[in-house]
Amino acid sequence: MGKTIAMQPWITLKGCTAYTAVLIQPVEGWINGENFTDAALNISLVGGLTSAGNTLCSLVIETASAPEGPWSPIATIAAAYSQTTKYFTSRASENTDKFERFLRWKLDPSLVTAADWTMTFKICATVK
């Protein structure tokens, strides 16, 4: 039986082109997968695109074996007005995307084109 964790309640973040630092989820919200092998992240996302459909900002899911990193991207969600579920596993025998012990989100302004951006999203993690 899995259990569901509010990995990130609804949040709105904004950025401008002059701000180039990444925005990383606060450490208190990271998922520690030491005691489970499968994770399904249900991600609801609004924003991140221009009206013409160009990518302004993408939400990146990262994983690492220790809080200090190194962190590797395992999923990128760029579509506006989307709801998607990403499946990850730590079992080597599976073909699903692999996660190491920790999971977190990141917004990377290096993906931003020349415009300010707004991203509203929430993430629910079901783990077992």
Partner: protein, 178 residues
Amino acid sequence: MAELTNQQLSGTVTTPSSVQTAAERLRNTMGNGIPVAAPRPSFSPNMMMQQKETIRFQPWVTLETAAGGPDPLEIIQPASQWLPGAQVPTYQMEIKVPYLANCTLYLESSPTAEGPWSTVLSYTAQTNTMIMLASEGGGFAGYIRWRVAGTAPWQICFQLKATPGASVLQQMGTPKRV
């Protein structure tokens, strides 16, 4: 500060929770506070000096006011979240403001909760910076809070963290006599 015993130096002591970092606590939880078996902490003689409790002074938040209407032109941090400054010589402040338009973010200090409040720092554009605030020399006293004020419509997205530390003079050490 208490002297370290040989037992502590050999790594047989449990790290006090008061000096655990958020990352260390995360090792012992499954995310959002669900506990798992706590691993034995490694210990270094410098641990007591290196690890300070970082205060999430303001988690990520986006504030916006609409054009016109009765919306307030300024928003002040709730009193329950103000930083206590009376017993803290210094704060290392991490300030992230990826978006700011038509407003100013103020860090203010006051010796009492009722005021008067004076501006310690202010930002009128996006920033990503780390600064040291010191009570010595009148940098801050009593309480620290944030306030956003501007001309509607204004928008801001920001996060503030604060790590309390020793006094600047203690950090510099005792100067050698020549």
